[in-house]
Amino acid sequence: MVSRESFVNLSDEVFERVGVDPEFSEHLDKPSLTYWADVWRRFKQNKLAIFGLVLMVSILVMIFVGPLISGKNYKYMDSSVKNLRPNSEYWFGTDDMGRDIFTRVCYGGRISILIGFLCTIVMFVIGSTLGALAGLKGGWVDNLIMRFAEVIGNLPYLIIVVILTMVMGRSIFAIVLAMSITSWVGTCRMVRGQILQLKELDYIEAATALGADTARVIFKHLLPNALGIIMVDITMSIPGFIFGEAFLSYVGLGVRPPETSWGALASAGQQQLMFHPHVLFFPCLMIVLTTLAFHLVGDGLAEALDPKLRK
């Protein structure tokens, strides 16, 4: 600050603009990364997350390729090989009807993971659409959607599932519907919160000031910025649904035999726990490993996506 006298005499010459000479300006060696390349770079640094990703991929490969390698049919019963321990012929042993547990675990895994993905997609679509609408529109739209979400969220989950499976039969469709009908509430709240937070930021206002329409604001600014948290939520909820399906199958509300899932396999194995624990062990192991893998990847993603943790 200059004294008041000299400050009155300030002329334009005193304020000469210091430009940048391209010759002497900083030289940037580091290559520019796109946003997702940067995310991947940070994800790779997280050993646990990479372990989770490798585990996840191995499980998926095993589920889809496993039955081809073992060469067994998951429905084929061979009464001469009942309740065998794991051996070189039957890698995970056989069950009380002489079926190969390895092949059954692979087939069950397909159903379990399919249900996990389907439920998550339904949850994401309903939840983020309603959440974004509530957050953006505000006012009575927001009120209506959030009260509706509260009502749905307060319905007792198990009763809904029991009623739906009784009405619609024990099909995959019924299970997906029953599990995702209540689960979108959390996503809806999260997306709404994100949008509410983001839409107040200056760069949204800057886009409006530049003449951007609502669609551009949503797809160019709001969604990309909310995507990180949404993706973490998605990865974290897949194991939740797999677990939920396992639970439903375990109590006898899941898929109908001869179709099977990890939960149904665990349910069958539980009856023989005393003498043939391996029948229960392998489906449970798969559930645990899958849940672990998705959670590790989700955690890694959350860390890699958060710009505040950037170094």
């Binding site: 008041r4 304020f15 603009r17 210091v18 940048v20 951007a212």
Partner: protein, 323 residues
């Protein structure tokens, strides 16, 4: 300054925010002023006096509660959506906070190019890139910065990006909403000099919002002083600094520290007392009355109108109206 052309007319602009059922914040209350083409109009006042709201309402980012803004003959708030989009090409804004005003998921090239994309100013990608390069150089950044993300920049650099974004659509009027208040003093000078140079080169008109009184003296041609949503004094910047009439302006100017103890000791006017009151449900009368040493009964009852007491010098104070 003789034959000047009015570019922007702000007439009785009001912006009130409802909080809760009964409380109303009168952020901008009956503000009127003109901005001439090619000049820098400074808007000063304490924090929370409605400067920013005023600036954003002028650009149509807020819907006004009352009054109108006429830009070059068109009512900013009565435009249809196509004309409104055209208006965003003419009038731009530089934000106060260089951290929240850039989308963290977009590269600098996309941030600066967004305006060009929206208004279809470039024929192809090559032209767009060339123009972004030009803008980067104009604001003193490198070509290599084009693929960087905002978090890789310092505050001053980010503010330059914000300025480049505003310039990208080649506007003629820019609202500078405290563009220097979040920056270091050395960077402030850089940014102000940049803005001034751009003004000379591109014949821009600025509405410069700030609470930095020293800076506004240097850069503006005319200054409006705001207090709690009202314009209390409006004059050429030299006039205002030499002869402030409103007690608030006097107090505000005397609070500018001078790094010379002799002058500092000789200061006559007392600095402002007390805190700025809230603008929620303000009482009638002069908003400044509660802090004013010369307040009389009438000050608490009637809102003083803005009157011209000297040539081009307007004051809203009962003391000046009937001495």
């Amino acid at each position: 300054m003789t034959d000047r052309e009015t570019l922007l007319e702000v007439r009785n602009l009001k912006k009130h925010f409802k909080i809760g059922r009964k409380s109303i914040v009168k952020a901008v209350d009956d503000v009127s002023f003109d901005v001439f083409r090619g000049e820098t109009f400074g808007l000063v006042g304490e924090s929370g006096c409605g400067k920013t709201t005023c600036g954003k309402t002028i650009l149509g980012l807020h819907k006004p509660t009352g009054g109108e803004v006429i830009y070059d003959g068109m009512d900013v708030h009565a435009l249809d959506s196509d004309r409104k989009k055209d208006f965003t090409k003419i009038a731009q804004i530089v934000f106060q906070d260089p951290y929240s005003s850039l989308d963290p998921r977009m590269t600098v090239g996309d941030i600066i190019g967004e305006g060009m994309d929206i208004h279809h100013l470039c024929k192809d990608k090559g032209e767009r890139e060339e123009r972004v390069f030009d803008l980067l150089q104009t604001v003193g950044l490198n070509r290599e910065h084009i693929n960087r993300f905002p978090h890789e920049f310092s505050g001053g650099q980010r503010q330059r990006i914000g300025i480049a974004r505003a310039l990208a659509v080649e506007p003629e009027f820019i609202v500078c909403d405290e563009p220097i208040s979040a920056l270091d003093v050395s960077i402030q000078a850089q940014i102000v000099n940049l803005l001034m140079q751009l003004q000379r080169e591109k014949q821009l008109t600025y509405l410069f919002i700030t609470h930095n009184l020293a800076m506004i003296k240097y850069i503006s041609d005319r200054v409006g002083v705001m207090y709690l949503g009202n314009l209390v004094e409006l004059a050429g910047s030299k006039q205002l600094y030499e002869m402030p009439y409103h007690p608030y302006t006097q107090g505000l100017l005397s609070s500018v520290p001078v790094p010379d103890p002799r002058i500092e000791r000789r200061k006559e006017t007392a600095p402002l007392r007390g805190e700025i009151p809230t603008s929620i449900n303000p009482p009638p009368g002069c908003r400044f009355a509660s802090r004013c040493d010369y307040a009389r009964e009438v000050c608490y009852e009637v809102m003083p109108p803005l009157i011209e007491i000297e040539d081009e010098h307007f004051v809203a104070c009962h003391l000046m109206a009937s001495p």
